[in-house]
């Protein structure tokens, strides 16, 4: 028993209409005999029998239509009773080898294309059935989308701490809503910060962030946050955090540190800054930190033994004075470096460090922003800190930890008067230089800050 199915007579055909049966039910047919005339969407085509036997049943009568693959007749050996035929489901066309051979064929779409029946697809919101050439039944992604996917899925090439991936809309939103991108972990492909990341960050209370060198009085408010419940929360380090941890251990446990603290009268420096800032536009305004950076750089010109490194049993004195400025962000500590600091004017130092810090904050810094330091300044002045000691930032031989400027009662010419005082602590690698040098250096820094006109010259 063989089923005769509605053949696919053109690539765009969906249904065919039986025009004329050329054999009657019960008549013998030989393979190759003309069997039925079918009207496709393009032409009327005579279809041959592809099996021999008795035409035991005509299922689709003349004048009726049937979809491709539907059983239209049965050819039996004459012995068995024809079973009740079921129309083949849509999309199940006769396989190429079994397909009846069309005598005529369209000039472009050859009859036997071995493509399955035209797929019925819901093509618009109205649910209309839209058939089109060939079934779109591939479920795996093809070569057609691979190039696009390669772009979307390209892993982040930069290391942590370098340029952060931020989508344009996320960057714009963050700016509009004042969201600090550096405290967001991107969830997009390759860790890109997406619009959604910024939107959800905007919902959260701002975390205590940048320990930017600013003046005292910064309001810090830490919201109570949910503690881990039950189990200990394990926080994995970013690559940058691991690096920082390793280097700090290396520094603290290989360089024998000693510390020298000095209190500096900052009255004139504060007044100078005030005067300077009154004279310039806001973007050009300078900070106390800029004054300290300048003072340290100038002092270092007189102390080449401090602008040096311990290296495998000898000391290397550096030709350039490059001051690193420690910037603490929510989840990382970075030290952008101001090159040839001693040769820069106060204004240049100010502008450049603003740019460096902003680049660091927004993850736009380049790798070279972080290398080449010969001396580092860590300033917690804006956090109401009396004084602290810092760990030397390799390969430096010293680091200056800067506390807040405080209004104090000070004794001047036998009288108690109000004064502005700031405590700085120098951490020293004892292998590179000694206590007296440290004290002399601090005196020079102090002299420059207490008579600050030299800083603007």
């Amino acid at each position: 028993m063989a089923d005769v199915q509605m053949p696919r007579l053109s690539d765009s055909m969906e249904t065919g209409k039986i025009l004329r049966w050329l054999k009657k039910e019960g008549e013998d047919v030989k393979k190759g005999d003309p069997l039925v005339e079918i009207e496709s969407d393009k032409a009327n085509i005579e279809v041959e029998a592809y099996a021999s036997g008795k035409l035991s049943k005509i299922v689709v009568a003349e004048g009726e239509s049937a979809p491709i693959g539907a059983v239209i007749a049965q050819i039996g050996d004459g012995a068995s009773t024809p079973s009740t035929p079921n129309a083949a489901p849509q999309g199940q066309a006769p396989a190429a080898a079994e397909a009846p051979k069309a005598q005529a064929s369209a000039p472009v779409a050859q009859g036997d294309q071995a493509v399955a029946a035209t797929a019925q697809v819901a093509a618009d919101a109205g649910g209309e059935q839209y058939p089109h050439g060939g079934p779109d039944d591939r479920t795996e992604v093809g070569a057609a989308a691979q190039a696009a996917l390669n772009v979307i899925r390209r892993p982040t090439e930069q290391e942590d701490g370098e340029r952060q991936r931020v989508s344009p809309v996320a960057r714009r939103l963050a700016e509009e809503q004042g969201v600090d991108l550096s405290r967001i972990q991107g969830t997009g492909p390759g860790g890109r910060i997406t619009k959604e990341d910024v939107e959800s960050a905007a919902q959260r209370p701002a975390a205590p962030t940048p320990t930017l060198p600013r003046e005292r009085g910064r309001e810090i408010e830490r919201q109570p946050t949910a503690r881990p419940t039950g189990e200990v929360e394990v926080v994995e380090l970013t690559k940058l955090q691991s690096t920082v941890a390793m280097r700090l251990v290396q520094s603290k446990f290989s360089a024998p540190h000693f510390y020298v603290t000095s209190e500096i009268a900052m009255d004139d420096a504060v007044r100078l800054r005030q005067m300077f800032n009154e004279a310039v536009d806001k973007p050009e305004s300078i900070s106390i930190n800029d004054l300290i950076v300048k003072a340290v750089a100038l002092a270092l010109t007189k102390f080449p033994e401090i602008n040096a490194s311990w290296a495998d049993g000898h000391i290397e004195r550096k030709p350039d004075i490059n001051i690193g400025i420690a910037v603490g962000l929510a989840d990382r500590l970075i030290v952008p470096v101001l090159r040839n600091t001693d040769q820069k004017s106060l204004k240049e130092i100010s502008t450049e460090s603003k740019q460096l810090i902003e680049r660091a904050r927004t993850n736009k810094a380049a790798a070279q922003d972080y290398v080449g330091n010969t001396f580092t300044i860590s300033n917690l002045g804006m956090y109401d800190v009396d004084q602290f000691t810092a760990i030397i930032n390799p390969p430096d031989s010293a680091i200056l930890a800067v506390g807040s400027i405080e209004d104090k009662a000070v004794v001047k010419d036998g009288l108690v008067v109000p004064g502005k005082r700031m405590r700085v602590t120098l951490s020293v690698d004892h292998r590179v230089f000694y206590g007296v040098t440290a004290a002399e250096f601090l005196q020079e820094v102090k002299r420059l800050l207490q008579s600050p006109m030299a800083l603007v010259l």
């Binding site: 690539d11 472009v108 819901a122 059935q129 839209y130 089109h132 050439g133 060939g134 979307i152 714009r172």
Partner: protein
């Protein structure tokens, strides 16, 4: 409003315009006695006679050249290139003559010409017969290029194209002639320079034209089942390229996929992506994803061909990836 197959919607447009305007005539290979290779011109020879439905020799350059001359002389020819693959031998006529003549004569003559031609692959017809060239034409000032994806648009755009005083490349697709849809009866005009949202959505924009519009619509329907809301913009107007709905959509969704049946490089998607970078850069949340045919001459091998041309799965997987859901 009747439900018509694409080929019948096109046939209706031709018949209506030929009845409306005696200067409209058809020429092309096998369009008369044989009713057209894809049966778009079925019955028109019988109805309008040999003077208005011309069977031509297999000589594409002559077909286009004749049509240009007729157009310059006051007629409104609709030339059929049996498939877009064959137009390559007539490109000098299309670009140097049809597209440029009006400009070179300082507006002294016009070329109200329509060239209808189907492109598209996926039918195992080999590299030479599987092209999609709409980007070639859309590159050329002086041509208008449209590529409908629904029967209603096919009718409305063809009628507008015939009435336009400039040469219009009317790109059809072999895979959509049987595509059925509701088509407005009688006077139904679709402007040649307006693209439109065919399916509204919120999270991702998919741009597509011609058969890829159907692929995009199918993909959007599947994506909806996964909870991804995709907006589909029909790019039927390729030159002039109407970016208005795309820009508006990208400003809403921030993510864009372009789908075309031709190759990706220098393709329709490349142009759309550039315009989006120019006009909506600050709204993007991810790079624009361009889907197009694999960068190889179309394979004949069925399985290779299947992965070389874009399908629904490509759009779906790309959409998920863009949304970080892969």
């Amino acid at each position: 409003m009747a439900v018509l197959a694409m080929r019948d919607a096109l046939n209706q447009a031709l018949r209506e315009e030929m009845n409306r305007d005696k200067s409209v005539f058809l020429l092309g290979e096998d369009i008369g006695l044989y009713d057209g290779s894809f049966k778009v011109t079925r019955g028109l020879l019988k109805e309008f006679g040999e003077k208005r439905v011309l069977d031509t020799p297999i000589a594409e350059e002559i077909i286009i050249g004749t049509a240009i001359g007729a157009a310059m002389s006051g007629l409104r020819p609709v030339a059929e290139m049996m498939t877009v693959n064959f137009i390559m031998v007539a490109m000098d006529q299309v670009v140097n003559a049809a597209a440029h003549i009006r400009y070179m004569f300082g507006g002294g003559t016009k070329v109200p010409l329509v060239i209808r031609t189907p492109g598209g692959g996926g039918h195992q017809l080999g590299a030479q017969h599987s092209h999609s060239h709409e980007n070639w034409f859309a590159h050329v000032p002086g041509l208008k290029v449209v590529a409908p994806g629904t029967p209603a648009d096919a009718k409305g755009l063809l009628k507008s194209a015939i009435r336009d005083d400039n040469p219009v490349m009317f790109i059809e697709n072999e895979g959509t002639y049987a595509l059925k849809g509701e088509v407005p009866d009688g006077e139904h005009l679709v402007p040649l320079d307006k693209n439109e949202v065919k399916r509204p959505g919120e999270q991702i924009t998919i741009c597509a034209h011609s058969r890829m519009l159907i692929v995009a619509m199918d993909a959007a329907a599947e994506l909806e089942k996964e909870g991804i809301s995709a907006e589909v913009v029909d790019m039927r107007a390729l030159r002039p390229l109407d970016m208005t709905p795309v820009i508006a959509s990208v400003k809403k969704t921030s993510r864009l996929i372009t789908v075309e049946e031709g190759w990706r490089s220098y393709g329709v998607g490349s142009e759309i992506a550039s315009r989006v970078y120019e006009e909506a850069f600050d709204y993007l949340d991810a790079p624009v994803a361009r889907i197009g045919a694999a960068e190889v001459p179309a394979p004949y091998n069925k399985r290779l061909e299947k992965i070389a041309f874009p399908g629904k799965a490509d759009v779906i997987v790309t959409a998920r990836a863009l949304l970080g859901k892969n």
